[in-house]
Structures are given as C-alpha cells and as structure tokens.
Symmetry: C2
Subunit: 319 residues, 2 copies
Amino acid sequence: MTNRPTSVEIEQATLLALDWGTTALRAALLDARGNVLHEHSSANGILSISSNGFASFFEANFSAWISHKGILCLISGMAGSQQGWVEAPYCPCPAGFGELATHLKWVEPGRIAIVPGLSCLRPGVPASLSLSQIPDVMRGEEVQVFGALRSLGCQEALVVLPGTHSKWVQVRDARIDSFQTCMTGELFALLRQHSILARTLPPSGGPDDGMLDETAFDEAVALAMVSPGLLSTAFSTRSLGLWKALSPAALLSHLSGLVIGEELRCQHLSHGTEVIVIGSAVLCLRYGRALQQLGMRVRCLGSEATWNGLFSIYKTIKP
Amino acid sequence: MTNRPTSVEIEQATLLALDWGTTALRAALLDARGNVLHEHSSANGILSISSNGFASFFEANFSAWISHKGILCLISGMAGSQQGWVEAPYCPCPAGFGELATHLKWVEPGRIAIVPGLSCLRPGVPASLSLSQIPDVMRGEEVQVFGALRSLGCQEALVVLPGTHSKWVQVRDARIDSFQTCMTGELFALLRQHSILARTLPPSGGPDDGMLDETAFDEAVALAMVSPGLLSTAFSTRSLGLWKALSPAALLSHLSGLVIGEELRCQHLSHGTEVIVIGSAVLCLRYGRALQQLGMRVRCLGSEATWNGLFSIYKTIKP
C-alpha cells in the first residue's frame, strides 16, 4: 500500500472510513461534509492478516492518514468478527444509527472504532423449531444501508445488497427492522463452475462471463417467477443446451436469470414496491432489470454508500 | 468382469437385462417368470467404454450369457444416448410399456435391443417462453417406474426416483404421463463439498456422512415447507454452526433435510397422497421419513424395479 493522501488532504479530513472485509480492504478519507478526499483499495482483507497483526498493519499503513489532530477512524465489515482485529458483538435488530454508534467497539478510545454487525431472528420460522432462536447475521452491509438512507433521504425502504450472500433488508423509521441472507451468488458460482450445467456453459472467466443476453435472462426470470423453486428449474439450463436452443453465452444468462429470479420470487414482493439496490454496476443492471420486469420501482447505488454510512455514524457520535 | 452365470442358469434364462448407466453397469439373467437367476455389477459405465468399443465389450463379457437359443438382451439407461452404444431417440410422453416396446432400438435384431428414454414438455411453463418447447428428458428411470407398477400392481401412481437428478413421475392408466427433473442430489453435494457451509460440516466421505440425526433432519424438512425457497434457508446451516446450536454431524442432517424438504415443497403434494419411492436404502429412508412427516403414504422399492421393468417390456414383445 503506497497510495497515500497528501498533507493538504489529511489537514482537511475529519474521518478515515475503512471497509475491511474478508478478502478486500477499502479506505476513504472524508472531509467535514462527508465528501471523499482520497480513496484507496487493496487485497488486504482480514484473511491476509495474522490474528495479532492487525494493529501493526494499521499503524504501518494508516497512522499517517489520521496524524492530523482529531481525525477519527471508523471501520466496518469483517474486521469486527471473531477472526478480525477486535470482536464487536452483533447488535440485535431493530437497530439504527444510534444503536450502532452506542455499540461501537473502541480499539483505541477516541481514535479507532469498529462498527458492530447486526443479528436478526428469522421471520416466519415456527417457534417449535430450534432455528427460531438462531439469528441470521451480517457485517458491513448495515453501514451501506444507512449510507443509502442518508443519500436518498428516506426512512422506510426495502434494500437488497446482491452478492455471494445477498442481504434483503427491511428499514422502518430509519432503523433496520429485519434482514435475510440468500446464498444467491455462491449458488450461481457452484452451478456455473462445478455442476453438470458447467459442461454446456462457456469457460469461467472468459469473455462471455460479463455478457448479458437480455432475452434469455428475461425469460429465465419469468420462468423462475411461475416455478415452485430453483431445484425444479435449474435442469432446464441443461435441456436448452442439449437441444441447442441457446448459445453457451445465452445459457449463462439463462442460469443468471433463473438464480436472480428465484431470489426475487422468495421475497414475495408486491407489485409497485420500491427496491433500493446497492452493488456493483453489473449486479445493479441485472437486479434492476429483473425487478423492473416484475413491476417494481428501482433505485441503484454503488460503493459510495459505505462512506455515507460511516460518515452518518460519525455525525451521530460527533454531531 | 469374471463373475459369470453357470450353464444351468443360462439354460433356464429367457432374458438378459442390462442397466447400463453413465458410471455403472448392472446385469441380471432372468427366468421365464422374471425371477433373477444371476446378478452382477461393475464400474463399466458408458463413460469407461470408447465410442466404437461397445460391441466388442458386450461380446467379450455377455455373449456367453445369451448363448442358449432364444435368450434376448434388453438394455436400459445411458447406453441409448448419443454418447452410448446406439442412440435410441427419446419417446415422447405419455408413453407406456407398449410405446417403449414399439420404439426399441435393435442393435442386433432378435438378440439385443436398447429401450428408449422419455421426453416430456415441462408443465406450467407459459407458451410465451421458448423453454415451453424444450422437453425434460430421462433414460433408465422409465424402466424402473414400469417395474414398480408391475410389482405393486397399480395403474396410477406418483413415483419419485431420488438421486443426483431426482425424477418425479406421474403415471396415469399405466402410462407415464409426465415427469420432472430436480437437481437435488447434485445441489446437496455442491453445498456440502464446495460452499461456505462445508467449513462447519464434517469431512466428506467420513463416518458422519451416512449418519442421520433425526431431529435435525425433521426440523429442516419442516423449515423447508414453510419457507419460500432453498436460497433463503440454506444459510441457516451456517448460522446453526456459528452459534454452535448443532454438532457438525447434525448440521449435515439439517442440510439434507433442507434440500429434500425443498424438493418435496416444489411438488405441491396434497395431504394423504401415496408416493412410491424407488432408490437406495439410504435415500428411501430419508425420503420416506420426510414424506410421512408431511402426511403422505409411502411405499419403497429398490433396484429390483429395473429387472421387473425390463421383464415387463420383454413380455410385451414376447407375450
């Protein structure tokens, strides 16, 4: 990590925001109004740091960033997990800016703090099942959600953060009321790389990977919505390949549509619901397209949501 | 392959029945009443035979079995696929014993024939989607279904053949009316071996693999039935592991129950429906248990269904 802020940037800064995940680390220096002065990212996720190496890694790379008097560092993501720097216990839902700020885990009081993740009992699980007492969890996404609320100026929202483990988050009265994890991205990758379906799909990492065949994708979303579940639709990818009804690239869009469509089917969305999508441009495009096809209203945000979220928490503790 | 029938067995035989699948070959010599005289299995599935090596493999291993005058050989399974010995084109549903017998693909007239697989348009796919014209397919399972009908003496049935690609088969008037493929076994294996869930599960192939924690399994089936889909329940396996609510072995039963429960949920079964399960003892136990929990009546059959099925087709062409 050599990309460092200038002394002028450090002088103008009020907050160093870190999104420290499992496989990546993103950093941003923000001014008093929450604007990004300097940004940097690296592959130094928590898995790349030894369990007692977090403090020295931080000091070596970031002490200069917060050398100006009064700059605070707020960290979100897996850095607060058992495998991270210091464990910040999950905060139970419902939770808002206030609860996160109250439960900050101070690594160094007044200088470095970790934002806790959230836990939430699964709605709809009968009390007779032991799982009804076992919460779903997230770390990092909660900050993105609060950032999105700040950007969009809303207090009520349904937010999806698509990815390896997608999160569907219900916000009420500016607090996260409940959320649910869907293993959508991981399941897509498993089917795409390791299942029998892989035999008729284009090679992973090839040029077709990012391509979207819109017709194949849209049809697969429509199929997912009228089907009982992915178990019964996934094999259609093989049939379409065997009967040469779709090209390999279009088959990949078909599978993507089936999996994303299945995730949307599981949400039982009412027609006309507004859904806020926070994610990469590729995922925002696909989820936006699928949601609009189902009659939803969509707003998309990118990674800036994290900085807005950490800045909002900062403003809560230093109003 | 050295295990061969005796000359007395060959003299009593009327039919050599072969179930020639992708990775295994099973053979049985049957007498005039359909009883098994001699049985043998090996790993000589079609993938182990070169594309022009089927005839010589057959003659080297089975010509002695059918050396007695008038013994016929009927073959079911992937030997009739494009990658097999001789392609036996799919027979469209509805189809019964009669249609299969009419469409036998004779490798050597009067001596060796391959039973065709079945194809079936997917029910419930809107005509506006191109997939509505692309059939689902099976090879080999149709013979097991007809064998089960013969054993049980029934003309109407709902049959499930659990496995890597489970088949749900609807029989009406002694004919296969429609069927559907579920990628249940394959999806379980992917989640169990390659997903993040694998981290808290016992090692694959270990002693816990065959063990069933009945409470964990039953609870997971119940959870699957009240959930919108596997995408939203699968992550519970990780939560239960993280919170140490279940042992690793019980977690495996939980995942098994989630996946099998999801397959059953997708079938929209009416309470009290009779379901015939054809499969291994392990799968019959799990599917039987899950189906009974949901109020279904269950009958289980093992691999003998194949021999009954091939014998029934034999009796149709040589009454």
